[in-house]
C-alpha cells in the first residue's frame, strides 16, 4: 500500500551555546538521518528515552520545526518544498495532540472557542455550523455540550486531553501526531484516553504517529514500532516481532528495564549501565556502543548499516551483518 506519510533522511541539527554572533556554537544532532513510512490507517509507535529526538521528529512532520535535511512526503507530496501558505492548507490534514493539555489550551478562551479556532482560521464553516461542529466534537470525545461554555482550568487532566483531541479533530485530519498524549495522566484515566484514540481511529480511519516513552502503552496502541536512541532509529518492525524478539541490544535493554506489574521471587539486575551520552558529542560508530553489552571493535569505528530481516523488521546493529541475520 502507498504510505500516507513517508520520511527519508530526516535530520535536525540545532546550534546551541556560544557567544554573540554565533561564535563558538556547537552542533546538537537532535535527529540524524531518520527514515520511515506510515501506511493509511496504521499506528506507528515511536519510543525512546528523553532526548532521543522523538518529539523533534513529530514536530518536523508538521513543519512546526524546520528540518535541516531530508524529505517529508504526505500523500506523495514533498511538504518541505511547499511555500508557507500551501503548507498551512496541508496542515488541515495533519494535526498534533500534545503531552501537556493544559499548556496547549489558551486559559482565556472557552472550550467551544478553542475547538472552533482551527475551523475559523481555515474558514471551512460559517459561524453557525462551526458552533454545531464544536458541539459534535465535544460529544465525540465524551464531553457534554455545556462543557463548551467553560474554561480550561475547570477541567481535570483527562478532560483537558479530550479537549485537545477534539481540537485536533476539528478539521477532519487524516493524520495525527500524538506526542506523549497520556504520559501526564493517571493510569485509570490513561486507559480511557487510549481507548478513545483507538475508537476514533476505527471510526474515522485516522493514521497515527504515536510518540511515547512508555513501552506498554506503545505496544498496546501501535501496529508497528520504531525505537530511537540519540537521534537515530535503531530498530523498526511489527510490534509483535519487535516485542517478542527484539534485535537491537538497546531495544532488548529497554524492554527488560520495564518493571512489570507482577511480583517476582528474585531481584532483577539492571541490564545496561551508564547514561545516555550527550547529543552534542554523540559516540563515534554506533551511538549505543558506550552502553552496549555486546560491543565489538567495529562498533566503536563504523556506524552500523540498516539491515532488513524477515517481515520488514529493520535493525541498525553490527550483530546483524547485511545479507543475513545471525541467530539472536
Amino acid at each position: 500500500m502507498t504510505p500516507l506519510v513517508r520520511v527519508e533522511g530526516l535530520t535536525k541539527h540545532f546550534w546551541v551555546g556560544g557567544g554573540p554572533f554565533g561564535t563558538g556554537q556547537s552542533r546538537l544532532r537532535a535527529v540524524d538521518d531518520v527514515s520511515f513510512a506510515v501506511a493509511p490507517g496504521e499506528t506507528l509507535g515511536l519510543v525512546g528515552e528523553s532526548g532521543c529526538g522523538k518529539t523533534t521528529v513529530g514536530r518536523m512532520l508538521l513543519r512546526l520545526i524546520e528540518p535541516t535535511k531530508g524529505t517529508v512526503e504526505f500523500d506523495g507530496e514533498d511538504l518541505l518544498r511547499l511555500p508557507p501558505d500551501k503548507m498551512r492548507e496541508r496542515r488541515r490534514n495533519m494535526q498534533i495532540v500534545f503531552q501537556d493539555p493544559y499548556g496547549a489550551l489558551n486559559p482565556r478562551m472557552t472550550i467551544e472557542d478553542i475547538i472552533k479556532e482551527p475551523i475559523e482560521i481555515h474558514g471551512t464553516l460559517n459561524a453557525k455550523d462551526a458552533r454545531r461542529r464544536a458541539g459534535e466534537l465535544l460529544a465525540r470525545v465524551g464531553l457534554a455540550h455545556e462543557h463548551g461554555r467553560r474554561y480550561p482550568h475547570e477541567f481535570s487532566g483527562g478532560q483537558r486531553q479530550r479537549i485537545g483531541i477534539a481540537r485536533a479533530l476539528a478539521l477532519n485530519p487524516r493524520f495525527i501526531v500524538c506526542d506523549e498524549p497520556v504520559s501526564a495522566l493517571d493510569v485509570s484515566i490513561q486507559a480511557q484516553i487510549i481507548n478513545l484514540l483507538q475508537d476514533l481511529q476505527d471510526e474515522l480511519g485516522l493514521t497515527y504517529l504515536f510518540i511515547a516513552h512508555d513501552l506498554g502503552v506503545v505496544k498496546h496502541i501501535s501496529d508497528r514500532v520504531a525505537v530511537m536512541y540519540l537521534g537515530k532509529i535503531v530498530e523498526i518492525g511489527d510490534k509483535r516481532a519487535l516485542y517478542s524478539q527484539p534485535l537491537h541490544p538497546y531495544t532488548q535493554a529497554l524492554i527488560a528495564a520495564v518493571p512489570e506489574a507482577k511480583p517476582r521471587a528474585e531481584r532483577r539486575k539492571a541490564v545496561i549501565s551508564g547514561e545516555i551520552p550527550s547529543a552534542l558529542n554523540p559516540p563515534k560508530g554506533c551511538r549505543f556502543h558506550t552502553r552496549c553489552p555486546h560491543v565489538m571493535p567495529i562498533c566503536r569505528e563504523t556506524e552500523p548499516p540498516v539491515t532488513e530481516t524477515a517481515g520488514r523488521h529493520l535493525v541498525a546493529c553490527h550483530l546483524y551483518p547485511a545479507g543475513g541475520v545471525a541467530a539472536a
Binding site: 483527562g158 512508555d214 506489574a261 507482577k262
Partner: protein, 325 residues
Amino acid sequence: MSLLSVRNLQVLFATENGEVAAVDDITFDLAEGEVLGIVGESGSGKSVTALSIMGLLPRPPARIGRGSVMFEGENLLTYGERAMRRIRGPGIGMIFQEPMTSLNPVFTIGDQIMETVRVHEGVGKAAQRDRAIQMLARVGIALPERRLDDYPHQLSGGMRQRVMIAMALICRPKLLIADEPTTALDVTIQQQILELLLDLRDEFRMAIMIITHNMGVVAEMADRVIVMYAGKIVEQAPIGALFRQPSHPYTRGLLDSIPSLADDRERLKTIPGTLPNPSALPPGCRFEPRCAWRVAACIASVPPLVAVEPEHHSACIRHGELAAR
C-alpha cells in the same frame, strides 16, 4: 514493635470551600527493614501522608485533624520544628520525585552533603568531605571527588537522584521515604535507581516507604502494599496477595487498566469517571460513584477496612464476592 506506626491520621487543608481532608483516618505500620509501597493516583493523599510523617506539611493551609505518628515510640506530631530537625537525617530520610527542586542550585553538591554531616554529626571539614566522597561513590557516582565541586544543574536527572539518595542516606536513617523517586527518570535509569535502593536497604538495614503510581515499581520493590483512594486506604496486603487476589474494585481497576508488555488485549479496561472533588466527597465509599460493584449499602456508610485473610485488608463490603470471581 513497629518502627513507624501511624494511627487514625487525618490531615486537613483549608480551601475556598472550607476545610477538606486530604488524608482521612488512615492507620498502618512499618517494621524495621521492611519495604512498604503506597500506591495511588493524584489526589489519593499518598504524598500528604509522607509529608505529615516528615513534619513538612505547609501549615497553613494544612493542619493535623487528629491521629498520631509514632516513630520508635515517640509521637512525631507533638514535635516542634527543632525536634523534627533531629529526626530528619538520622531518623527518617526523604527523597522526592524531582531532585532539582530539592537541591539548592547555588551550592555545590559537596557543600550540601557536607552540611548534612556537619549538622548531625559535628565532625570536622576533612571528615565531612571523606564521608561525602564515600557516600557518592556508594550511590554509583564516578569520580566523586571531582563531582563534589559540581552544581546541581551540571548533573543529569539520574545523577541528581543519586545525589539526593546520598544526602538522604549519609546519616544512616532507619527509614527512607521515597516519593515517586523514579517517575521523572527514563526506564533504563529507573531500573538502576531501584536496584540501588534495594542494595542500600540490605546494606544499611533500613526500612523504605516507597510512594508511587506505578504498579510495576511496587511489584519490584515492596514487601507490602497500601492502596489509597481519595484520602483513604482501600486495601492493604502483602505484595504477592495484592496481585494474586486484589480485593478492592479500585485495586482491580488499576491493575486492569495498565497496558502491560505481556498482554495482547485489543481494548483496555477502564475505570469510568474521575476522582471525586475533595470538598464534595461521596457520603459512603468514596469509590462508589465509579464502581462496577456498587450496591445501595455502599452509600449508607463509609466501609471500614476488614480482614480478607490475615495481613490482607480491604475496605469493600463485597470483598468476598470479589474474591470468588
